[in-house]
Symmetry: none
Subunit: 276 residues, 2 copies
DNA sequence: TGCAGAGTTTGAACACAATCGAACACCACT
DNA sequence: AGTGGTGTTCGATTGTGTTCAAACTCTGCA
């Protein structure tokens, strides 16, 4: 069995059983416990599981990821890089609007938890990820779109428009200088547009494959975007076109300059962590 | 079992029974009493239980800051039975309000999918369960309560009050003839009360342990409840008291007609697992 | 009520077991 | 040669069981 395949299955097991032992996994997958520990450490780093003494637990809402797990783990490093880089841009932010999609979910998963942060989002996945991590979340409400589990419709738009936010972090199905930020579903686009109405700064996070792509519904023209965070696979010409429109583009690169930014914050999760 | 897992379950037991002996816990969890004492000491240090001579007690109000993990596994079979029985009572329903809690989540999981069904709920878990199963769901919206992932606050109450439903299916932390349906968190209670405002019929689903229990916030007096679905562990006297108030009580029993589907010994695992 | 004595419960201390991560070596593949 | 994955060893950490003296509860008796 491939290593990636095993990790995926490990994650499935953890999500399924809520809590599982290292020894059990090692036996079931016929590998050493050390290997399982390494797998779990990785999954913890990516925000999927919580490590505990002797095993791991999860806070994932089971029903989401199961099918989407493979997709989520794919290109995990790039996604993590983008998410981390974007998180650095939002350090002081108090009120934040978060959009939808797996990229934003990754961002939510890797966002350092802060007491003073308030998030508003139409995504059930983002809301549950942050909710279980003790971030104060407001969910839009309204009709739940079936495949993506996002809130859509008039009341959702109404809800997100009520809040003033410092920063909005959104994903995109397409991102181009000509057509701006585009989404596939127009109802999602409506809600996101509503969320951007009263925000000071718009950060778009999108992997390279979205550059130059145009989806059906325009969310905002490119000029309104403040910063785009992407990875090195993004098309250079499109990057230039967007930059010419006055938008700042941040390309997340695998920790080149800094040798190791001090891993001393290693939090042990042997204790029962309870939401205050 | 993981040590963390055991501690959570110990806490759950203390919360459920109000008071419990060290010796009982040691026997049930197959560990030495010293280990239980250490667990309890830890839980006391964190403010979850109060240590007494020979055991521990707790205050009902505090109990529910425990993670969802602890409760999901407990009484899994009973909850499944109840859910199935309750689903039978809602066959013709077009518009339904669903409450919160693991019992209701089970109900949502086992509810046969119908095209013409519309559900409104303040629970993120229920919404995602049904959303992925192609049921049309409206989620309340508002502040997300951290531990349970439920929508609370004024806008959530506002949202659920807008809809007219045929039937409401709710769980309960406590259910008694004197105090009616009670919940632990008053903000949850507010939202549920709102959801019951414009419904024609209230079905309460609650396993036996809830009978006679009284939690802090009353959701509705018992007279307004139409039907209660529970299992055979429910206290007979309390059942009678509730029935005397004119409420119909349905006791879900493990498939009576079938003699016994062969105990192949393998069945133990499925009991521990959460229902898929 | 007060009190002695039996039985139970407790926590400290110790020993042992399980689990941990770091470090190193090996392998497969590029 | 380099990269990523794996298993093994080993010292440190964490969890568990046992023993034992002290503390506590309960009961019966005055």
């Amino acid at each position: 069995m491939l290593a990636v395949e095993r990790r995926l299955k490990v994650l499935e097991r953890v999500a399924e059983d809520q809590a599982i032992e290292v020894s059990t996994l090692a036996r079931d997958f016929q590998v050493s416990e050390m290997t399982i520990r390494r797998d779990l450490r990785r999954l913890e780093r990516d925000g999927f599981v919580r490590r505990t003494y002797g095993g791991a637990t999860t806070h994932l809402v089971r029903t989401f990821e199961v099918g989407a797990l493979a997709r989520t783990l794919h290109h995990a490093r790039e996604k993590r890089l983008i998410a981390k880089r974007a998180a650095e841009l939002t350090v002081g932010v108090r009120a934040m609007f978060l959009g939808i999609g797996t990229t934003v979910e990754n961002f939510a998963r890797l966002l350092p938890v802060r007491e003073d942060l308030m998030v508003i989002t139409p995504s059930l996945a983002v809301a549950s990820l942050l909710g279980t991590r003790n971030v104060r979340v407001i969910i839009a409400g309204g009709l739940v779109r079936q495949d993506e589990l996002t809130c859509v419709g008039a009341s959702a738009v109404e809800a997100v428009r009520r809040y003033n936010t410092d920063t909005a972090v959104i994903g995109a199905a397409g991102l181009s200088a000509r057509r701006g930020v585009t989404e596939l579903d127009d109802r999602d686009a409506d809600v996101i547009r509503g969320g951007l109405e009263r925000t000071e700064r718009i950060i778009v996070i999108a992997d390279g494959s979205k550059f130059g792509a145009v989806a059906m519904s325009t969310v905002v023209p490119i000029e309104q975007v403040s910063t785009v965070v992407t990875d090195s696979s993004a098309d250079t010409e499109e990057i230039e076109r967007i930059e010419r429109a006055g938008i700042k583009i941040v390309v997340a690169r695998p920790e080149t300059s800094v040798p190791r930014p001090a891993e001393n914050g290693e939090t042990r999760l042997t204790d029962i962590r309870t939401p205050a």
